[in-house]
């Protein structure tokens, strides 16, 4: 469960996040939709305590990232915008490294990697060095290392970026499984189809502010449009930067 209230963050003169508020519940997929540069990544970075907010309040399962950073990091699984892997380590070693950084013991890491290898279908490449991995393989490893400690809350920044159709389908299935298991999933995207296909709740962000917030049906009602696409464009006020 994530609660965000009146979040502000600026870099110099640029107001990246300008009063964002939303909620993300357990057992639901929440999508942050907005054009490039809308403030999605900055919002997520404040959630996983990489950036301190200028003002506003964040609670993740009751914890505050500015004060309980270490504890929050233990309960969060994050697939950030940068998905750099260590190319001289195998996929398994990459995931194991993050497990060790979470203080897990060797046996439970091993068992968890077996589990994730099956779920994410990584058997073909789990013991290969990640040099030369395809984008799809990279994202799978990045997800696996973010999930190695079985976090309750999952944050994903543009998870389907650069993926082909098959990989995207597999990713969506996996995200639905997470919802099924009662996790709270927040993903950011600039792809409308992604939120339409996946998200229970949609938070539309534009210019650092929340333009609209609700289920797909809510948004259709509020905008008076027939299709989600028209609704998005109307609510954001422009087509710029959005992908159909």
């Amino acid at each position: 469960m994530i609660e965000v209230r009146n979040l502000y963050k600026s870099f110099g003169d640029v107001k990246a996040v300008n009063g964002v508020s939303f909620e993300a519940r357990d057992g639901e997929i929440t999508g942050l939709l907005g054009p490039n540069g809308a403030g999605k990544t900055t919002t997520l970075r404040m959630l996983y305590s990489l950036l301190p907010p200028d003002s506003g309040e964040i609670r993740i399962d009751g914890l505050d990232p500015t004060r309980d950073a270490m504890q929050i990091k233990r309960t969060l699984g994050v697939v950030p915008d940068s998905r750099g892997l260590y190319s001289r380590l195998t996929a398994r070693e990459n995931i194991r490294y993050f497990g060790e950084l979470h203080g897990m013991n060797s046996d439970s890491i091993g068992a968890r990697i077996e589990n994730l290898t099956r779920t994410l279908d990584m058997g073909d490449f789990i013991d290969r060095r990640t040099e030369g991995f395809s984008q799809g393989q990279r994202v799978k490893v990045a997800i696996a290392r973010a999930m190695v400690h079985e976090p309750q809350t999952v944050l994903m920044d543009e998870p389907s970026n650069g993926l082909d159709v098959m990989s995207t389908r597999a990713l969506r299935d996996y995200i639905r499984e997470l919802r099924q298991a009662g996790h709270s999933v927040v993903l950011s995207t600039h792809v409308m189809q992604e939120v339409a296909a996946l998200c229970d709740r949609i938070v539309i962000i534009a210019g650092g502010e929340v333009a609209a917030d609700g289920t797909a049906a809510d948004l259709l009602n509020r905008s008076g449009c027939d299709s989600l696409e028209d609704a998005f464009v109307k609510l954001i006020g422009s087509e710029e930067g959005l992908l159909a």
């Binding site: 270490m70 994050v78 915008d81 940068s82 260590y86 380590l89 070693e93 490294y97 060790e100």
Partner: protein, 392 residues
């Protein structure tokens, strides 16, 4: 601390698989420098020998004015060449090291018993002509003394009266203390090795990690940032120390093959000496790792970091260069200056001088204090978000 150990283990594993890291830290320094050293010694020795053994060929202008001098020179093994057309050009073009000119008034002055003028035309700024010039001067002085003695004897005066002081050399230097080149060169090489051994790792673990976009995911883990940075610095230090140890071992292996005779040096580097040197130089590895990590953390990419490193590598050279230009006596206050103190101490250890224990302690302590201060700065650097996101 478990986070630090995890980071350390991963960095070691990753970098052992990196050919570039292995080459830079474990091969380049340990192989290149000792070979360079030996090569330099061979070259110096053979050049010195060649010059000493070479017969002196000397063009003479006005040989007809001083037949007895010419005969003396020929008796001493000099080959007298005929008068050249343009002696200045000959010297400037380096065709001969020097030309002797006997002036026309030579016979006249000689007959009057006044100093008879001769000129040596040469270019002393050419290093290679120094030895022949010295030889010519010695020969002319020898001739002058011989004639002078004869003249005194003819007048019934003992030539000894004209030599009131007799100078004798009493050489107290031991073969080891004569190893002057090694005394300058070895600390210099080790100092540079500490830095070159650390350079690649310092850049790869910080700027490289940023460039590969794996820094942000890494920092999301529940490990304090100072532990992550310290793990990286410990890895860098270990690689720098390994580089130093290998360099010393490789010197130990190569030294017996050196042309020792010519320089009269005895430089065997026993195990005890090696360990002492390693003890003295180890804090430099920590200092280098911390300084380079700190600098590389500001760079956005490996390439940018590399451009800083070119300048940093000058730092360990400074003390050695000062010593080469101006050899000074070791004093205890110098032990407080990192790099400087190691230079002195290693020199003393090689010369087999006994060094006070508190000198060791001061050198190690002062270097560690500065190294740790830099390490703390580097470790807390990533608390600033700007440094994390300053990528491309």
């Amino acid at each position: 601390m478990s986070g630090l150990i995890t980071v350390f283990r991963k960095e070691v594993r990753e970098n052992i698989r990196d050919r570039r890291a292995l080459f830079n830290s474990l091969l380049l320094g340990p192989l290149l420098f000792p070979l360079l050293f030996v090569g330099m010694m061979w070259f110096l020795e053979s050049a010195e020998k060649e010059r000493a053994e070479k017969t002196l060929e000397l063009p003479v202008i006005g040989a007809q004015y001083a037949p007895s001098l010419i005969r003396f020179l020929e008796q001493q093994g000099t080959v007298i060449l005929p008068e050249p057309e343009n002696p200045e050009e000959l010297v400037l073009n380096q065709e001969v090291p020097a030309v002797l000119r006997i002036l026309p008034e030579y016979p006249e002055k000689w007959a009057e018993g006044l100093p008879a003028p001769v000129e040596i035309i040469s270019d002393p700024s050419r290093q290679e002509s120094n030895a022949p010039i010295r030889k010519i001067k010695l020969l002319l002085m020898g001739y002058g003394q011989q004639i002078g003695s004869l003249r005194l004897q003819l007048r019934g005066v003992s030539p000894q009266l004209a030599a009131p002081v007799m100078v004798k050399d009493v050489d107290l230097s031991t073969p080891k203390s004569r190893a002057i080149l090694a005394v300058i060169f070895l600390p210099y090489v080790l100092m540079i090795t500490a830095f070159t051994g650390a350079t690649h790792l310092a850049m790869d673990t910080t700027a490289g990690e940023k460039e590969r976009k794996s820094l942000e995911p890494l920092l999301i883990n529940p490990v304090p940032r100072w532990q992550i940075m310290s793990g990286k610095m410990v890895t860098t230090t270990v690689f720098a120390m390994a580089s130093l140890a290998l360099t010393l071992v490789s010197f130990r292996i190569i030294l017996p093959y050196m042309p020792v005779g010519a320089f009269g040096m005895d430089l065997t580097l026993g195990l005890e000496t090696l360990l002492k040197i390693l003890l003295v130089i180890s804090p430099v590895a920590i200092l280098a790792a911390a300084l380079l990590t700190l600098l590389a953390s500001f760079a956005k990419s490996y390439r940018e970091a590399q451009s800083y490193m070119g300048l940093v590598i000058l730092i360990p050279m400074i003390p050695s260069l000062i010593f080469m230009a101006n050899p000074i006596k070791a004093e205890s206050w110098m032990m407080n200056i990192p790099l400087f103190s190691q230079n002195i101490l290693i020199g003393e250890i090689i010369r087999d001088e006994s060094v006070a224990i508190n000198w060791y302690a001061m050198s190690i302590a002062s270097t560690l204090v500065i190294g740790l201060a830099l390490a703390i700065m580097a470790a807390t650097l990533y608390n600033r978000p700007r440094l994390i996101f300053s990528s491309s």
